[in-house]
């Protein structure tokens, strides 16, 4: 049921389909996790925060699926730059939600600690016998973490291949689910040993994690909207593709100097290449199509390139 992806090269289409399938599976699985966690949470603060984190994790999955529906729309008169920003918008909304809820749960968990609330963790009746609810919580937490880690591990290589930031952060977050489950389990075990504060401390730890994730993602989303230059998928360095572009352009004998300016728009790059040609180049304009084609061939992510012949480079704007 996939709409034709005009910007992805053919060999990546099945990978994209795999990613979509994994995201549907994620959503179905997370819905069951939310039900199970809700039933087992009792008055535990760490379970409550873990549940919120589970609800929040639906956002990247839903964003990916919704945005991937828009990507196939070609640019038109009304939206001449296309619809690629659908991803960026989804990313921003998700980050804001994550950050805001992170703030809330940090505050909420800190308050339970400060007010010295002793959580009452009673029992659950199974087959006519009463068992401590804490054990049910262990079960719920394991169910919420183990499949998530497996799915996350499967998504990560797809995210790298597709150079997809949303999928990448989603996969990394899922893979790290074990930390939340472990923290909550330690908290509940602490309660079992009579340390009433263990649960609130665990909740605080998980909350700070959520806030940190929200902050990181928000910073990235904002950088995207500010048209930051393309980075590697882990956001640490300039995408080496940019240097490849510079080198390719420089390899033409008529090109004296090259500077580039690119930004990300969804999963593809838009940009300008500024060229100072050698002054004695004959019919320099006819050289442009060949250069343009060579650049476009470098990678499928290079989607829209404008080549400008200039006398000097715009100050501070390109490199």
């Amino acid at each position: 049921m996939v709409s034709p992806q005009f910007e992805l090269p053919r060999h990546l289409l099945p990978e994209f389909e795999k990613a979509r399938r994994l995201e549907w599976i994620t959503i179905g699985y997370m819905l069951t996790v939310i039900v199970v966690m809700y039933l087992a949470m009792g008055s535990s603060q760490s379970m409550k925060v873990a549940l919120m984190e589970d609800v929040l994790s639906l956002i990247p999955s839903i964003s990916f699926l919704v945005a991937s529906r828009y990507l196939h729309k070609k640019a038109d008169k009304k939206f001449p730059y296309g619809y690629h920003s659908a991803f960026t918008i989804a990313f921003l909304c998700g980050s804001v939600a994550l950050f805001a809820i992170g703030l809330f749960v940090v505050f909420d968990s800190a308050m339970t600690l400060v007010q010295q609330e002793h959580p009452a963790i009673g029992s659950v009746v199974v087959g006519g016998k009463a068992y401590w609810l804490g054990y049910a919580m262990y079960g719920a937490l394991l169910y919420s973490a183990v499949p998530a880690m497996i799915i996350g591990r499967k998504k990560l290589p797809l995210a790298e291949k597709l150079h997809n930031k949303v999928l990448f952060t989603d996969a990394e977050t899922q893979k790290a689910d074990w930390m939340t489950a472990l923290a909550a389990m330690v908290g509940i075990t602490g309660i079992g040993f009579g340390w009433w504060w263990a649960d609130a401390v665990a909740a605080l730890f998980i909350s700070v994690n959520i806030l940190h994730d929200g902050y990181k993602n928000l910073r990235n989303a904002i950088a995207d909207l500010m048209s930051r230059r393309p980075q590697t998928t882990d956001q640490k360095e300039e995408d080496p593709l940019l240097q490849e572009i510079r080198n390719t352009a420089s390899s033409f004998s008529w090109v004296k100097q090259v500077a580039v300016r690119f930004r990300e728009n969804g999963q593809i790059y838009f940009g300008e290449i500024f060229i100072i040609p050698h002054s004695d180049t004959p019919e320099v304009n006819s050289r442009l199509p060949e250069l343009h084609d060579r650049i476009m061939e470098l990678h499928w992510k290079i989607h829209d390139v404008t080549i400008a012949l200039v006398k000097e480079f715009p100050e501070d704007k390109a490199a």
Partner: protein
């Protein structure tokens, strides 16, 4: 590591009471607060009676503890419970009680007309809560 978890939880008392309520009960005294709320708890010249009073008496007997009754209003009793001055509160409390945050509620010992009737223990005293739950479950059979 998961195995270590379960091993530690299997030994000795688990869960435990942060305020050592169960330990005190095992030393012989169960401090119960009761409020007049017929037919669940009836307070008269002879002291507290009614199905909840009987339930509590049986539990105390099982734990080899003597009951020390405190008769007062619901509000006062829950306040004392929250301050760990009482071990148990009875008085026709339902799961919809506004004092939920002051206490831990047991499994319902009776259901009637959409309402679930429970006993209340101090917040966080999970060993006592589990013991009561097990008692209630075994008695409703």
């Amino acid at each position: 590591m998961v195995l270590l978890f379960f091993m530690t939880t299997a030994c000795s008392q688990f869960p435990r009471d942060p305020e050592q309520t169960m330990a005190r009960v095992n030393r012989g005294i169960l401090r119960v607060g009761a409020t007049h709320h017929p037919p669940f708890v009836v307070i008269d010249n002879h002291g507290p009676s009614g199905p909840e009073a009987e339930l509590v008496s049986e539990f105390a007997a099982e734990q080899h503890a003597q009951i020390r009754w405190t008769i007062s209003s619901e509000a006062d009793l829950f306040e004392k419970l929250k301050q760990y001055e009482l071990d148990l509160v009875v008085g026709g409390i339902t799961t919809r009680s506004p004092y939920k945050s002051h206490a831990g509620f047991t499994q319902p010992y009776a259901r009637h007309q959409d309402k679930k009737y429970v006993l209340a223990v101090p917040p966080g005293e999970n060993a006592l809560l589990l013991a009561l739950d097990r008692f209630i479950i075994s008695h409703s059979q």
